[in-house]
């Protein structure tokens, strides 16, 4: 009851309810004055790029504005996990192709698992995560081949999935190139569904490289999310492209769009690392 009394008291102060600011109004895209609701998503959610914070301004269910923010990336002396083989190769270490192929396969399975979980297809998401772990733990190719191809086929064949996410987060190759996106998101040249299929096809292609013991080609510096030797880490470009994809989207699409790009915030520490590598 003491709590209720406190609440009643707070009601009197202007623009505040229970110590929380009231919604303010602002023009929406149809030039109506609607309440603006400020909803932050992140930094910690399941199936969310760890550390990413999106500060959404919602009017109704439309994302009117978005500020992309993230937790401080710890400057530990460790290479970003998913880019490690390519970075080590850039530093002059000997890295075999199968190691890079495994890392790429696992990274894409990880991303696809996250997107599928956000879309609510738990079964295939769980399979992707299990395959990711198997690929990373060095399972022989024959062990994962059948399972992997089956999963890739299931994703590609699902009409409900396509119907559910096609058209979300449209990013043309031209626009992607202009922002500096280099990885599968550039190659996909399309929406969230195209990006998912691009991951899956790279996973399938990567299968052939799982037993390749030759050293990584000197010009292969493209990690799972893009070129690691560029001026900026690949995930930075993915973050930069987020506001334009999210603004005007419905709230229901926001997390699908984020998951379909799947930026890896660990990579943001890369700028200093690759700088060190070049030096």
């Amino acid at each position: 009851m003491g709590h209720m009394g406190h609440m009643g008291h707070e009601m009197h102060t202007m623009g505040q309810v229970a110590g929380l600011p009231m919604a303010e109004r602002g023009d929406d895209r149809d030039e109506l004055r609607l309440d603006q609701l400020h909803v932050p998503i992140g930094p910690a959610l399941s199936n969310w790029p760890a550390g990413l914070i999106l500060r959404l301004t919602l009017q109704g269910d439309v994302v009117q504005d978005v500020a992309v923010d993230h937790l401080r990336v710890p400057s530990v002396h460790r290479l970003p996990f998913w880019d490690e083989p390519w970075l080590r190769a850039a530093q002059g270490e000997k890295v075999t192709r199968d190691r890079a192929a495994r890392r790429r396969c696992a990274a894409h399975l990880d991303s696809a698992g996250r997107l599928l979980a956000v879309v609510g297809w738990d079964d295939v998401a769980a399979r992707c995560r299990r395959l990711r772990d198997e690929v990373l733990s060095g399972a022989p190719r024959e062990g994962v081949d059948g399972d992997l191809r089956r999963t890739v086929r299931r994703v590609g064949r699902s009409r409900p999935l396509r119907w559910s996410i096609a058209g979300l987060g449209e990013l043309s190759a031209d626009r992607a190139r202009a922002v500096g996106v280099t990885g599968p998101a550039l190659a996909a040249d399309g929406d969230a569904y195209n990006r998912l299929l691009m991951w899956m096809s790279e996973v399938e292609r990567g299968l052939d490289g799982l037993d390749d013991a030759r050293p990584l080609a000197p010009d292969d510096r493209t990690g799972p999310r893009g070129r690691v030797d560029g001026p900026r880490p690949p995930s930075q470009a993915l973050l930069d492209v987020l506001p334009e994809l999210l603004t005007g989207a419905e709230f229901a699409c926001a997390r699908i769009i984020v998951a379909s790009l799947d930026p890896d915030l660990d990579e943001l520490a890369l700028a200093s690392v690759s700088g060190a590598a070049h030096a």
């Binding site: 738990d122 079964d123 997390r255």
Partner: protein, 314 residues
């Protein structure tokens, strides 16, 4: 005409529904386990996976409830409690074999009214915690309701039309010889889809979906969460179970007694739903709405028309 069930059935009903819900959740957990960790190698391992929902229930029992600022605790709690309550009340007209706890002359309307309580329940549970994400989840259920309720009601009406009665017992009796599913397949399929939607489970988990961090259930913890999510399983069992008297001939079948047939058919429908769920992502309502209104409403209307013509010419 079915007889009225003895009084003790009233006490047994919630227990039986709860057992059915636990078994269904266990089956679902078993399938999830094999997707996550590969198929179980020993019976013991499979058993451990199947009791995962019970373990989770125990964990929730001892978990601290979560409080949010300026929450509407009365309405929020009401919403949470309404879910299992609606399920059990709807279950009252569910015949076991040929006996239901109650078989009123408007049993089908009663069933539908109790299901509609779920609308209030999910919305209130979403409203209660004063959290944006749970409110979004609550509203999603209203959108979902708009999509599934009309086709759902037409599907139920079709069965009542075929029996020329709103009494569940009469609907079962009318299927002696020929089950309704044979000449009302469209209504049956639509009913199953809307049963999932009503229980906001599986492909219709949208109000609780992960892209809103758990939607209406985001802020629920401890016992609240257990009652809400457990109630959802009850609702799934009841809505799936009601397809048996409506379309699958109720307790009718050779050799075995009526209650056994009810059990077998209900289990089969639940297995179909739980296994079928694995093939689908969560359906986003903004897209599903189109299918519901452009395809399913006309389809169920045509089905009702067909049944009406058959009934008139009998």
């Amino acid at each position: 005409m079915p007889d009225a069930a003895p009084l003790w059935a009233t006490v047994v009903l919630p227990v039986a529904l709860a057992v059915a819900a636990v078994v269904t959740a266990g089956f679902d957990a078993l399938l999830s386990g094999s997707a996550e960790r590969g198929s179980a190698r020993t019976v013991r391992e499979a058993g451990l996976r199947a009791v995962a929902p019970l373990r989770e229930a125990l964990r929730l029992l001892v978990q601290q409830p979560r409080r949010t600022t300026a929450a509407d605790r009365l309405l929020g709690r009401l919403g949470v409690v309404l879910v299992p309550l609606a399920a059990v009340l709807a279950g009252a007209v569910l015949p076991w074999g040929f006996r239901a706890v109650s078989d009123p002359s408007v049993g089908i309307v009663w069933f539908n009214a109790m299901e509609a309580l779920a609308w209030a329940a999910v919305w209130l549970a979403g409203w209660g915690p004063n959290s944006a994400l749970s409110l979004i989840g609550g509203y999603r259920f209203l959108a979902q309701g708009l999509a599934y309720e009309l086709p759902h009601m037409f599907a139920i009406t079709t069965a009542a039309l075929g029996a020329e009665s709103l009494r569940v017992g009469d609907v079962v009796a009318a299927q002696e010889g020929l089950w309704f599913v044979v000449w009302m397949p469209a209504a049956f399929v639509v009913y199953l889809l809307s049963a999932l939607a009503m229980a906001f489970w599986g492909p219709f988990e949208y109000p609780l979906s992960r892209d809103a961090a758990g939607g209406a259930a985001t802020e629920l913890a401890g016992v609240d969460r257990l009652v809400f999510l457990g109630g959802r399983w009850l609702l799934l069992v009841v809505t799936a179970g009601f397809s048996v008297p409506l379309f699958l001939g109720g307790g009718q079948g050779p050799l075995l007694p009526g209650w056994a047939w009810t059990l077998i058919k209900t289990a089969a429908v639940l297995m179909l739903l739980v296994a079928g769920r694995r093939a689908l992502p969560v359906l986003r309502m903004e897209r599903y709405m189109e299918v519901a209104w452009m395809v399913m409403v006309p389809l169920t209307l045509l089905q009702a028309l067909f049944v009406a013509v058959v009934v008139l010419n009998r």
